[in-house]
């Protein structure tokens, strides 16, 4: 569907949900609000899609996992590990000339770590793509987060699958 309609996907993550036989897919789509509206509507048309939520504007927490293989020498290893610690990431594999870092965070955090480690030699990076969830409502009736409150409510009921 995405290819046919010419939508650009930055990342895609799929996995089981809490409901048996139902998967959750998280797409990060590039485009303006018209693009997003079309993507949402076309996803709804797919019979196997039960629900579509556009959480671009919402309070949401977004995380992805990355594994990075970083080149190390005996001199640079401790520097690398210090940076990894600062990001609260983990070293999960050590070899003579490289180590593997595992980091979980939002897109900016993962980008930042990768940039800081770049001078040492980033040999390989695998990123899972974002999974995201809207924040829960607190007692004040609004979510706590950078958007600080209500998400965009569409004026008309334009959703539905046909």
């Amino acid at each position: 569907m995405f290819r046919r309609r010419g939508f650009n996907i930055s990342s895609l993550a799929v996995g089981n949900s809490e409901i048996p036989n139902l998967s959750r897919m998280t797409f990060v789509v590039e485009g303006d609000s018209r693009t997003v509206e079309q993507v949402t509507k076309h996803l709804h048309k797919l019979i196997d899609v039960i629900r579509v939520s556009d959480i671009s504007d919402d309070n949401a927490v977004a995380r992805e996992l990355a594994l990075m293989r970083i080149h190390t020498t005996s001199q640079t290893r401790s520097d690398v590990m210090q940076i990894v610690d600062l990001f609260r990431a983990n070293v999960i594999d050590v070899a003579n000339d490289s180590l593997i870092v595992e980091v979980v965070g939002d897109e900016e955090k993962v980008d930042a770590l990768q940039n800081l480690l770049a001078p040492y030699g980033v040999m390989e990076v695998m990123r899972t793509g974002i999974v995201a969830m809207t924040r829960g409502m607190n007692a004040n009736g609004g979510g706590s987060g950078r958007n600080g409150g209500s998400s965009r409510r569409p004026t008309f009921n334009e959703s539905g699958s046909v």
């Binding site: 509206e37 079309q38 509507k41 709804h44 008309f156 009921n157 539905g160 046909v162």
Partner: protein, 564 residues
């Protein structure tokens, strides 16, 4: 009672009220055919090319409003259906295609006549299902028909492996009801949308109704007529909407778009409100979007929300099933007149006689269609191919009833004319059915004249024979410096001899004076007839708004003499 998979398919089809299937057997689908031969209640029409099966199912669906069913074997059989399926997708036609597939253990191993048809048809089906267990068949068939005919109709493909069809006797368990979590077709419109839409309608000074295929799908003809008459609003019908409003009604204001009537395009251009009913602002209708209806607000009623704001931004989108929405709207719409606006459109009609046929002794293709319209009194079902003849058929035939023009609009598949006409006649044996072809398109599917003969399907085939790939030739004339490369046909067969070869009557018409009598003779001859009209070459379809242009760049026919 325990049945094989194939028998379960047949029983399920009976439950869905299927009484005809168009198809061509093959290895993977043989078990289905084995069962089908024991079900005389389901008429099987054997075609000569699977593409004809799909297009016949399409024509059948358009003529009857029922779901058209076609079947083919795996591999090349299935891939031959794709054009017909894609056409049904583009024009929102309810269709179920059943294909055999290689046995389950062979799937994915490049088996003989294996293709991933569900993969191939993903973008051109509303839904498709690869049925991997006999127990899943009944549910799959019920789902397929439900999805095909509800909401915005469309084609659904069922791919069934040979061993699922053949083996394993299982009980036939027809599900009583069906409910799909991810599928919820809209019904009535939201009150707020409705009231905002009606407000715009009541306030408009120069409103225009654009009636599209949705009116036919929803059987909303009387509601449309009531709305138009109550508020005295002119109705413009798109190509696929033709028949939803009688062409001889004083409020009918033509067809819009690239080859629509000039007065329709000019009316849209000066309108202050477009009431779009079940039409999707296809680019053939709008031309350059930035210059389309520059002064109009838009009320867009559709059952598919993805059409809102897709091409044209709707001021008020109204989501709902058209017949229900119109019934909600009618009591709220005020009784009104728009005398000056209607007079303006009448003036446009007089100044831009887009349907004028030149007085000449030459045999013009437009003349043939006008004669046909007069002789059949607008009561026939007209099935066209794609190209110049299609546009002339849309322009010059005076359609009076719904579903009387059957044409491949969105996909524009040449060759549609022969098989779709067969399907239409099978579905509506009470109607006179004319298949209008160009010599180009006719040659694509003429092998299914055999199907007409074998089943005595009484379709009259009219070929507007100008020895060229007409519409492409026209574009080369206007836009490619008359570089007529690859558009002149010098190897055409003698179509009358071809008809004779199939054992049916062929009539050649070379003179304008012979047209009417040839048409009458064809209609008085029982069974299929082929008429070969040798028409003037180098005729252009006018008016024309070139692709990507607007009404400001519309080209009208240069008229050397006028009729008053």
């Amino acid at each position: 009672m325990e049945l094989t998979g194939a028998e379960i398919v047949c029983e399920s089809l009976l439950k869905e009220g299927v009484d005809v299937i168009f198809g061509l057997p093959g290895g993977a689908v043989l078990p289905f055919y084995g069962a089908l031969s024991g079900y005389p209640q389901i008429r099987h029409i054997l075609v000569r090319h699977e593409q004809a099966a799909a297009m016949a199912a399409d024509g059948y669906a358009r003529a009857t409003g029922k779901v058209g069913v076609c079947t083919a074997t795996s591999g090349p059989g299935a891939t031959n259906l794709v054009t017909g399926i894609a056409g049904a997708m583009m024009d929102s036609i309810p269709m179920v295609a059943i294909t055999g597939q290689v046995p389950r253990p062979a799937i994915g191993r490049d088996a003989f006549q294996e293709t991933d048809i569900t993969g191939i048809t993903l973008p051109v089906t509303k839904h498709n299902i690869l049925v991997m267990e006999v127990d899943e068949i009944a549910q799959a068939v019920k789902e397929a028909f439900y999805i095909a005919r509800t909401g915005r109709p469309g084609p659904v493909l069922l791919d069934i492996p040979k061993d699922v069809l053949a083996g394993d006797r299982r009980p036939f368990d027809w599900p009583e009801s069906i409910s799909l979590q991810g599928y919820n077709p809209p019904g009535e419109a939201d009150e707020l949308q409705l009231s905002q839409a009606v407000e715009l309608i009541n306030q408009a000074q120069r409103p225009v109704i654009l009636a599209g295929h949705g009116v036919l799908i929803s059987h909303a003809y009387s509601e449309l007529k009531e709305l138009a008459e109550k508020a005295q609003i002119p109705v413009i019908t798109t190509l696929l909407g033709i028949g939803s409003f009688p062409t001889d009604h004083f409020l009918h204001a033509g067809m819009p778009g690239m080859h629509g009537m000039a007065y329709a395009s000019l009316a849209i251009d000066s309108a202050d409100l477009l009431i779009s009913l079940g039409m999707r602002f296809d680019d053939r209708v709008t031309g350059r979007l930035s210059d389309f209806a520059p002064n109009a607000k838009v009320v867009h009623v559709d059952v598919d929300p993805s059409e809102f704001h897709k091409n044209v931004k709707a001021t008020v989108p109204v989501l709902g099933e058209l017949k229900q929405v119109l019934n909600q709207m009618l009591p709220l719409v005020e009784r009104k007149t728009h005398v000056e606006w209607l007079q303006h459109i009448d003036t446009l009609r007089a100044e831009h006689p887009s349907l004028y046929i030149r007085q000449t002794d030459e045999l013009l293709p437009q003349y043939v269609l006008k004669q046909l319209s007069d002789i059949t009194d607008g009561q026939a079902i007209v099935v066209t191919g794609v190209g110049q003849h299609q546009m002339w058929a849309a322009q010059h035939y005076a359609y009076k009833e719904p579903n009387s023009l059957i044409t491949s609009g969105g996909l524009g598949a040449m060759g549609f004319e022969v098989p779709a006409a067969l399907g239409a006649k099978v579905g509506r044996p009470d109607k006179v059915v004319w298949s209008i072809a160009g010599d180009g398109g006719f040659q694509m599917t003429m092998c299914d004249l055999a199907t007409a003969v074998e089943n005595n399907i009484d379709v009259k085939f009219a070929i507007l024979n100008n020895g060229t790939l007409g519409m492409v030739h026209q574009w080369q004339e206007f836009f490619y410096d008359k570089d007529f490369f690859a558009t002149v046909y010098s190897g055409n067969p003698d179509f009358v001899k071809l008809a004779d070869a199939y054992g049916i009557k062929g009539i050649r018409v070379t003179d304008k004076t012979q047209v009417a009598s040839a048409i009458r003779q064809a209609m008085e001859t029982p069974g299929p007839v082929v008429l070969d009209f040798i028409v003037k070459q180098d005729e252009q379809v006018y008016p024309m708004i070139p692709a990507g242009e607007s009404v400001n760049e519309m080209m009208e026919e240069p008229i050397t003499e006028r009729i008053f």
